[in-house]
Symmetry: C2
Subunit: 359 residues, 2 copies
Amino acid sequence: MRITAVIMAGGKGERFWPKSRTRLPKQFLSLTSDKETMIQKTVERLKGVAEPEDIFIVTNKIYEKLAHEQLPQIPAENIISEPCGRNTAPCIALAAAVIEKKYGGEQIMLVLPSDHLIRYEEMYTDTLRQAIAVAESGQRLVTIGITPTYPETGYGYIQFERDTTLGMRGVYQVSRFVEKPDIDTARGYLASGKYLWNSGMFVWKTSTILMNMNKLMPEVYSGVVEIADKFGTDEFAVALSDGYEKLPSESVDFGIMEKAEEIYTIPGSFGWDDVGNWLAVERINSTNDLGNYVEGDVITIGTKHCTICGGKRLIAAVGVENTIVVDTDDAILICDKNHTQDVKKVIENLKICNRAALL
Amino acid sequence: MRITAVIMAGGKGERFWPKSRTRLPKQFLSLTSDKETMIQKTVERLKGVAEPEDIFIVTNKIYEKLAHEQLPQIPAENIISEPCGRNTAPCIALAAAVIEKKYGGEQIMLVLPSDHLIRYEEMYTDTLRQAIAVAESGQRLVTIGITPTYPETGYGYIQFERDTTLGMRGVYQVSRFVEKPDIDTARGYLASGKYLWNSGMFVWKTSTILMNMNKLMPEVYSGVVEIADKFGTDEFAVALSDGYEKLPSESVDFGIMEKAEEIYTIPGSFGWDDVGNWLAVERINSTNDLGNYVEGDVITIGTKHCTICGGKRLIAAVGVENTIVVDTDDAILICDKNHTQDVKKVIENLKICNRAALL
C-alpha cells in the first residue's frame, strides 16, 4: 500500500490577527523563530513517511497560489482548491476519493492539520508509523491522541479504554469523543488518566474512510465521488467549483468519528501544540527571566509575563503585565492574556465596517 | 506701567514621549482636541491683559525656529534663546533685565509656563489682573496658587495665611513653600485648607524681582544684567551664548521665593492642569462610559479606563485596563497608568543606546 498524506490548509487563522490575514493565514506564516512556514514544516516532517508526490494539500482557492509557491515539491495537481469551506468531512472525503482515483483503492491516508507545532519529530514519525500499521491491518479508523499536560478547555477530548482485540502495544480503543469541556470537567479528565486531547490527526485506508462516508454521510460520499471522477482531466476544476459548495458543512469528528465503529487511538507525546491563539507563542518560544517573550525592537521597563512581537517600529512597554502586543504595518493588537478569544470580535467589527484591507 | 509677560518654553516634555520629542516638545504640540499648540494657547489667553509686542518667550535655541513659526505675532527680538537650560531663576532674571533694557524700569512682568492647561480663561485673566494690582502696589512678589482638588504628590505646595497688611480681598500672605510631599502629607495639606498648589505662575515688577535677584542671587543678577545690556544690538546673541552657560542652575522657587519677603498668593480656580504626564490626557479630555479616552483609529473590546492615542494605523485593544497607548510613526508606548513616571526610563535607555532618532 502507498502511504499518502492529506494536509488540510483551508483555515483562516483569525485568532492570529493582525499577523495572520484573510489572504495570509497562520499556516502560511512562521510563528516560531524558524524561517519555514507552518505548512512547509508540516510537509518536511513527513520525510521518510510519505513521498512528496503522495502528499495532497486541500486548501481554499484564495490560498492556492500561496500553496504552490511555498510547496514547489508537491505536484501541482495534488493541490486541491476548495471554492468554499465545508469543514473537515467533505475535505477528507474528497481527498480520499481523489487518491483512489489517482492510485486505485486501498491506499493508506494520513490526515494532518497544516498549522500545528511538533517539537519531537522522531517520536512523531514513530507514532505515525504505528498508526499506519493499525490502519493497514483492517477497516480501522485511527486517531492520534495527545497526552494532556494541563486542563485545556479549548480542545475536544477522546475517552479511551484498553484494547482487547488487536493486541498491539500502545494502541487503545476509543470509547467516545467529547466536545470542549468546561474547566471542572477538563480537570476531571486530566485527573482520570482516561482522556486524551483530540489532535485532529487521523490515519486510515482510503477504502475505510470512504466506506464510512458512504454509510454515515451518503450525500457527502456521492458528491465527492462525482467530483473526484474528473480528477486529472480538464473538467476537474469546474466539477470541484460546481459540486463542492453543494456538500453539507460538517466535521469529520461529528459526522464520522462519533458514530463509526472500530476506532482506535494512539497516544502521542511528541511536543504537540495546536498553536491555537497568541498564547501559544510563549509556549513554543522561550521566555526570559521576567516571563516575557519579545521579538523585534522592544524596550521593556517593569514589564512581566508579556508576549511582544514588534514590527518595523520601536515598542516601549512600561509597567505592563500579562499582555500580548503584536505590531504590523497597518494594525497593532494589544490584548490581555485572559481575553485572547476576543480577538475574533475585532475581526467581526472590521467585517461589519467593511474594512477589508485590515482583514 | 506696561504689562509684560514672559513665557517659559525651554522644557523638553520627556514625560510625553513618544509624541513629544527632543526637537518637538510638549509646549509646541497640541495634547487636547484643539488645533492650537499649548504655547499658542498660552499667548492667546493673554489677550486683553498683555499686548503681543510685550510678550517675551524664553526658550532653548533648538526650539527657536518652532517659536518663531508658531508665534508670528510676537516680535522676533522678544524670542530669547537659551544656549542651555539653567532652570527658572536665570531665565526669569534675564527676561526681567531685558524688559528693563527695552522699556526702562518699573514694568509689570507676568511669568507663565508655556505648557499648562487653563479651562476657564475669564477667571484666569481676572486672577492675573488682581495679581497685577498687588504687584503694582509695592515691592511685592505674587504667586498664583491653585486650590487643590486631590492630594497630588507631584506638585510643590504653598502654605498661606490671612493677609494683615494689604486689606485686598482674595489675597493671602505666603508662610512658606514646600517641596513635593508624600501621599500622607499631601492628604494632610488638602484636609487643612491652608495649602495651595504651586503653579509656577508669578507676577511682580521687573524692579522687584531684580532687586531680589541682586540680594539673594547676586551672581545671576550681575550675569544677566551684562547680557541684557547688549539686547537690541548685534552683540546680544554672542553675549547670551557666552554668558548664559556661566550662570548657576537654580529654580526661582528655591533661589528667591523660599527666602524673599513680601510674598503674596492669589488662589486661582480656573481649571488649571499642568499636563505633567500622559495621565493628564484623560483629565483634560472627556472619557466615555467605560472610562476610555480614545483618539484616532481605535477598536476597543472589553477595554476600560484606558487612554489610547492612535496614529496612522489601527489600534485594537482587547481586555486591556488602566493602560496608556500612544502610537507614532516610529515608536509606540504601552504604559500602565501606575507607571507613567517610568516613561523617562525609556528615554534613558534610548540615550544610552545612542538612538537619537527616537528621542
